[in-house]
Amino acid sequence: MNLWENLVGGIAGLLDFMGRRSGQIAELTLEHFWLVLVAMIVAVLIGVTVGVLISYWDPIAYPVINVTQVIMTIPSIAMIAILIPFFGIGFNNGVAALSLYALLPIVRNTYTGIRAIEQAVLESAIGMGMKESGVLFKIKLPLALPVIMAGIRTSVVMGIGIGAIAAYIGAGGLGILIFNGINWVNYPMVWTGAIFISIMAIIADILLGWSEKKMSWRT
């Protein structure tokens, strides 16, 4: 009985909070989105480039992928602290941290996507006289695209979640609601931050899943 009342009271408090602070929530959501977007653009540029480079030279492929894997195991709070000497505190640090986390799925999927291409396809392209740049941009990347997109999708969804931590060093975003909510023991505030982060992640997942299908040459 007590539990039920608490729940109803909690939801009412949550809705009340959301109503009163809707302006701030919208602003923080946008900030969060912006942080993840910039980080992902950086991660895709670096990740795809690294993935392509290691596909040309197998001996370094697994060491490089392993390094990105180790990066992923660093706790996010520690990562942000480690990056302070290089990027200070604020937005840049947040972007750097999220980009580093996003690297593994993108690098690994770019590499495996390219390596999975049928040998005969590449041999005929090269044998017919396509330049290496042509082979890369007209054959390898288009064929690996669905796999690369799957990696990006994983990274984005993960990045939206980890992005909350970036608020700790002043990078902004929905994490602010969570940290302040904890400090001020304001549970509706914590819940609001968590819920909006989840919604954003779900929407990103659906949209990227859809575009992954759209871009697939298999259909």
């Binding site: 005969a120 396809v121 017919m128 006289g129 396509m130 064929l143 040459w217």
Partner: protein, 367 residues
Amino acid sequence: MIRLENLTKQFNPAEPPAVDELSLEVKEGETCVLVGPSGCGKTTTMKMINRLIEPTNGKIYINGEDSSKIDLIKLRLGIGYVIQEIGLFPHMTIAENIATVPKELKWPKEKVWQRVDELLETVGLDPEQFKNRKPKDLSGGQRQRIGVARSMAADPPIMLMDEPFGALDPITRAHLQNEFLRIQQRIKKTIIFVTHDIDEAIKMGDKIAVMRKGKLVQYDTPEDMLSAPANEFVVNLVGGNYSIKRLHLIRVDEIIDRSPFTASSEDAVSDAKELLEKSKLGLVIVTDENKKVKGFVIPAYLKKDGETNADIMEEPDQTVGVGSTLNDALSVMLSNGQGYVIVVDEKERLEGVVTLNGIMGVLQDND
């Protein structure tokens, strides 16, 4: 003209070379078939010509020019390349696949698409029906045709073909071989053709280069190789039964009977009966006004009810094309269970008939 001079490739210093001091010359417009068991170096030899593999030693001259001095991309764009696995680009349409080399050569768009249509027709596929499809929507035989069309796209003077028909069922293979021979008669490319199938070598080659352990064992015309094999290895490769092998060399055109009895489908059955009495074969071929084969009548069908040929005729199970070999004709006869086969041109128009007796005659001439 392609000339290989002491061509050697050693992949691993601890092992004997994959290709060992190979020298041979292929004249312009000729098809040279490299044949031998797997690991004999035939594919390696071919890949050295478009420099997918660089030779350890020796030279390749293309029209007298040292190929190692030609710009790699320029060299390859001038050499058509077809492999057994075809390697069509799965994310591109058929038209885009065929257009690959012309696009690399920066042909004007209109010329590219015109060429694509032309090539699709050359390999016997309707452009409107096929050009916008993806490779996965095609059958094995159709894909192989696209592979050939793609390699011919920019009209390269030289073509390299590595077991191009190897993955196909025997009937489709024979069909594509014949079609390719017909196309080659017109385009006269200089072709290096790799196969492990001696029958295919005899059928496709103007010259056959038998290879073993990287070395050239014999380089001869198919006729000379059959009548004078250089050594035991070639004898074993060719296998026994020289006469049967010769069936791969002779085209149906050479023994075709060009004036079989024909009738139109509206003709009365009584006329067909008269013709059948005169016909030694016991066969009347029913054609339309364009000489297109509609069916055939044999004495047994006269028992059926009907007034015109259209009522009693049957459609032939299988016919053969004009470029087919006697071996192709014989296999169709065997599968039809008849002592003759109707020969048609590429538009299904009647060319004549080939009979078992005709084939026997050829075999007896040679014995």
